[in-house]
Structure formats: structure tokens, C-alpha cells
């Protein structure tokens, strides 16, 4: 295992220490390293957004804490849910009097912990609402959308909900904006090679030298098929065919697109993919508004990429333009 590591069991804590030391201007961590909030939290009168989940997906989730996105995060071990206790602590630290939205990817562990935290927070008089992101089209059929996993498309939901909260909207409205985004975002990924979990030294899956996992999840969960390596054109067409069908996209629609690298796939390759995305949508006369290319949701050093498509209305377009300022994601 070639990693920048001391004791593997301290991996998450040491990494978080590094984050907090490097970005003390923008992030704050009071005493529990697993509870990190934007440095100006709580923002009085603003709806606060809490997120969280397992570690190993940077910039998900920690990287989305900051102006224009989320207010606080709780961080679990690698690919493992943080505790309800940490979630409650985040909730209290970011609550600015206007309620808290729990916004995270749909996984059993996270759901159980966040639901329990919500119960405890309500006991303390904090209004809490929840939106779970279920954008991974490969993880369940569309008529069971609530069973789908949350993957890279969570970025768009943070972006929309964060902008709405920043605008001063009340909790109900921020929740609605998040739901609207979650309803209109779809993602599908392709895995080339696995990553290794530091604590166990195990890889997340096995795959042949000439095979790809189509529809892979961000913990290496199996997708819908194993396929031989194809050209960039073939891979992108495959993903976009699934995504546009699932989203019912028709010519004239406006979308935003995220071409996301899962870890060790070079940015140079992601732009080859983006060129294919551009050509494919042009040909279908679907308009791309504000594309994003880069690492937005990773799985440590897993090689591969995912494409997320967000179907846009005018409100979402406006929210996509709202400035964002975290140590990991900046836009203005």
C-alpha cells in the first residue's frame, strides 16, 4: 500500500487536522475533528445546511462547507457513516435560528444517523428538514428512485440549495429547492480500477486489465455491467443515453453537466470526455449551461469518471451563478 500515511487507523484524523490547519481562515473545528463548520457559523437568520458521510470522497463532503454551499459537515471513517452525535453537534454549531436542512447522499448508515440526529435536534427545539440525494441511475430502476444511491450529482444539489439558503429563503423553500434539484439530477459512473482502504489495506473490487465497471458506485459498488474498454466516444454515449432517457430530456432543454473524475483519472482525460459530452448534446440540440469538469466526488484513488446532468429551469440557472467560496470549490 503506497500511501502518505502514518498509522492507518489515524488516517482520517490526521488528514482532517491537515485540512483544518491549512484552511483555518474558512473552516472551524471546535474540539471534535469530525465536526467542521464554516468559520462564520452560525450565520444568523440564514437556513443552515448540514451534510456528512464517510471520508475518502473529497471534495465530498467536507469540501462543500463554505459560503454558497453547506454550513457544516460531520465526517465518518473511510466509507463509513459518522455518528448521530457528531451530526447533532454540527446541527447546533450551525443553527442560526432559521432551521437546519440535512442534505446528504442516500445510504443506510447515513440515513439512520441523520434521522436519529434530527430526532435529538428536534428534542432541543431545532427545526430540521431532510433531503437525500438519489442521483445514481445505475443503483435502482426509476420507479424505485428513493432506493437509489447518492453520488457525484450531490454537488448540484448543494449548489442549488446553498444558493437558495444564501438568498435568505426560509427552511421550507430551501428544502423545496433542494428537492427540485435532487429530482432533476442524474449521474452514472464508470470504474476503471479500484482504490485501497487505508485501515484494511483491501481494494474495493477486482477487475480485469481490459474491463470496466459500468454504473459503479462511489464505494466501488457493482453497477449494471462489466464491459470491455471502449473509446471515449462510446463510453460517453453509453452514459448519456442512460442519463437523458432517465431524465426524459428532449431537444431544447437546458442542462448543466458535471464531468467528474473519481480519483486517479487525469484531468486531461476528463476534458476528452467533456468534448464528447459537448458533441453529443449539440447533436441532440440540448443546451449546456455552465459545465463543470474536475474532481467533485472521488473514491480515494479509484480510476474512472462519472457524468452528472441537471435539468435546469430559470431559478436553478440563477442559483448556479451564485458565488461559492470554500477551500476546495470557488466560483464567482
Amino acid at each position: 500500500m503506497k500511501k502518505i500515511l502514518n498509522d492507518p487507523s489515524n488516517f482520517v484524523d490526521e488528514s482532517l487536522q491537515g485540512v483544518v490547519l491549512a484552511h483555518s481562515d474558512l473552516l472551524r473545528c471546535d474540539d471534535d475533528l469530525r465536526v467542521i463548520v464554516r468559520s462564520d457559523a452560525p450565520v444568523r437568520g440564514k437556513v443552515a445546511i448540514a451534510t456528512g458521510g464517510g471520508y475518502g470522497h473529497l471534495p465530498v463532503f467536507l469540501g462543500y462547507v463554505g459560503q454558497g454551499l453547506a454550513d457544516g459537515v460531520c465526517v465518518g471513517n473511510v466509507f463509513s457513516s459518522p455518528s448521530a452525535d457528531a451530526m447533532l453537534a454540527v446541527t447546533k454549531a450551525i443553527h442560526g435560528g432559521a432551521g437546519v436542512l440535512y442534505l446528504y447522499g442516500n445510504y443506510f448508515g447515513d440515513k439512520m444517523n441523520f434521522d436519529l440526529a434530527a430526532e435529538l435536534a428536534r428534542d432541543e427545539g431545532i427545526e430540521v428538514e431532510t433531503v437525500r440525494v438519489t442521483d445514481d441511475v445505475a443503483s435502482a430502476p426509476i420507479d424505485q428512485m428513493s432506493k437509489r444511491r447518492g453520488v457525484g450529482g450531490v454537488f448540484f444539489v448543494y449548489k442549488i440549495a446553498g444558493a437558495c439558503a444564501e438568498s435568505g429563503a426560509p427552511l421550507k423553500e430551501v428544502k423545496k429547492a433542494a428537492e427540485q434539484a435532487a429530482l432533476n439530477v442524474r449521474t452514472m459512473g464508470i470504474g476503471f480500477s479500484p482504490c485501497t482502504i487505508p485501515a484494511s489495506g483491501k481494494t474495493t473490487f477486482e477487475i480485469a486489465e481490459d474491463e470496466l465497471e459500468i454504473g459503479i458506485g462511489i464505494h466501488g459498488e457493482p453497477g449494471i455491467a462489466r464491459a470491455k474498454i471502449g473509446t471515449a466516444n462510446e463510453l460517453v454515449s453509453l452514459l448519456l443515453t442512460h442519463l437523458t432517457r432517465d431524465l426524459d430530456l428532449v431537444s431544447g432543454d437546458d442542462v448543466s453537466v458535471l464531468v467528474n473524475g473519481t480519483g486517479s483519472t487525469p484531468l486531461e482525460e476528463l476534458y476528452v470526455a467533456y468534448k464528447e459530452v459537448h458533441d453529443w448534446f449539440s447533436q441532440k440540440r440540448i443546451n449546456i449551461f455552465k459545465p463543470f469538469v474536475g474532481e467533485y466526488a472521488t473514491s480515494l484513488e479509484m480510476a474512472g469518471f462519472s457524468i452528472s446532468v441537471l435539468k435546469l429551469d430559470d431559478t436553478m440557472k440563477r442559483y448556479l451563478e451564485t458565488p461559492v467560496h470554500t477551500p476546495f470549490i470557488k466560483q464567482w
Binding site: 455518528s83 448508515g109 439512520m112 444517523n113 482502504i197
Partner: protein
């Protein structure tokens, strides 16, 4: 009547049993899960061992157990046991000491809470496959007015049967459900650790239960 000190004694006994099976539980979790189940359970029950009971009413004591469990553990098992203790606390709210009936109701509330928290049903290959049969056995035992002794023996055999049923099930919920068919053939770690909990509680209680009569008479 059961006091919070007596609850605490029994939980310490459970904690020791879990600690002894820690590696075995991790090993079970390494097949379809992430191999941490023994560690998580051990952390959680260790935390419970340290909860103060002296002079603390039962409900408050149980609430503190729940809170300390979730402080110690995230993952899946944290909110499941955390919820169980919090619901148990709610079920005996206001009571200083508990009757056997209270304890049985409390257990029912705890298991129901776990079901609600995780959305799992019997047969989904989770700890509920161990605990739901126990819950039914308790309810039946009350109806049939069994002796405490007999009931406890029934409880342990139901728990064991439930746990063992998970070997042949396909996981439909939680981390291991990712594996689909590949999850078949191994005990569910949560079901196995729940059996350790039940078995330890029963082992602890049996000597105390020796001279008491039928449940409804206590």
C-alpha cells in the same frame, strides 16, 4: 423490581461478552461488510459500561446509555442501538424501578425502534432476524404466563434460530446489500452480535430467575 444499578450490572456483563467476541464479529463483517462490526460493538458497549447508574432513575440511565452509545459509534450499529436505548428510556419514562413486564415492554420498544430506524423487515438479513423472534417469544411468554426460567430459555433458543437463519438469506438492506447474491452463505454480523447480547443477558439473568414464579406473578 429492577433498578438502574441492576440494569447496569447486566449491561456490563453484555459488554464483556461482546468484548470477548470482538474478533469473531469483525471476521464475520469482513465477508460482506467492512470488517469493523466487532470494533464498533465493542466501543459502544464499552461506553455503556461507563455510564453512571448510581442514584439515576432507570429512564434517565437508559437515555444516557443511548447518548453515549452514539457518541462512541457511528456506522450502522450506532444509530440502531442508540435508538433502541432511547426508545427503551421513553418506554419507562417516569419509572424509578421496573417490573418484568416493564422490561419486556421496554425491550419491545427498543426492537421496534431499531426496525423503524433502519426500515428492515424480518428476513432482510439484519440484527432484526435475531431480535424480532425474541420480541415475539417474550410477548407469547407473557400471554402463556410462562415461568421466567422457561421464558429465558425460549428467548435464547429463538435468538439462536433467528441468527442462524441469516446464513441462508440474501442481504436486502445496509452495506452488505451491495453484494446481492454474494452476501448469501454467511451469518449477518449484526444478527450474530445481537445473539451475543441476548445470550449474555440470559446467562446473567438465569441464576437470578431461578426461584421466581410465572411472569405475571412477579
Amino acid at each position: 423490581m429492577v433498578t438502574s444499578n441492576e440494569l447496569a450490572e447486566s449491561f456490563k456483563y453484555v459488554a464483556q461478552a461482546i468484548h470477548n467476541r470482538r474478533d469473531y464479529l469483525c471476521e464475520l463483517d469482513s465477508h460482506a461488510g467492512d470488517g469493523d462490526h466487532g470494533i464498533s460493538m465493542d466501543l459502544g458497549w464499552q461506553a455503556i459500561s461507563n455510564v453512571e447508574s448510581d442514584g439515576v432513575p432507570c429512564a434517565q440511565y437508559l437515555r444516557n446509555c443511548g447518548k453515549d452509545f452514539i457518541t462512541a459509534v457511528g456506522a450502522s450499529i450506532g444509530p440502531l442501538y442508540g435508538t433502541a436505548f432511547l426508545r427503551a428510556a421513553k418506554a419507562c419514562d417516569g419509572k424509578d424501578q421496573l417490573s418484568v413486564q416493564d422490561v419486556i415492554e421496554m425491550f419491545h420498544a427498543a426492537v421496534a425502534g431499531m426496525g423503524e430506524r433502519g426500515g428492515a423487515k424480518l428476513g432482510d438479513k439484519t440484527l432484526l432476524d435475531t431480535l424480532l423472534p425474541v420480541d415475539s417469544a417474550l410477548a407469547d411468554g407473557v400471554k402463556q404466563n410462562l415461568s421466567l426460567n422457561t421464558l429465558l430459555e425460549k428467548v435464547v433458543s429463538e435468538a439462536e434460530r433467528g441468527m442462524e437463519s441469516t446464513a441462508e438469506l440474501v442481504s436486502r438492506i445496509g452495506r452488505s446489500s451491495r453484494l446481492g447474491e454474494r452476501s448469501r452463505g454467511q451469518l449477518d454480523p449484526g444478527a450474530a452480535s445481537a445473539y451475543v447480547v441476548i445470550e449474555a443477558l440470559v446467562t446473567y439473568l438465569l441464576p437470578l430467575a431461578e426461584n421466581v414464579g410465572s411472569i405475571q406473578s412477579i
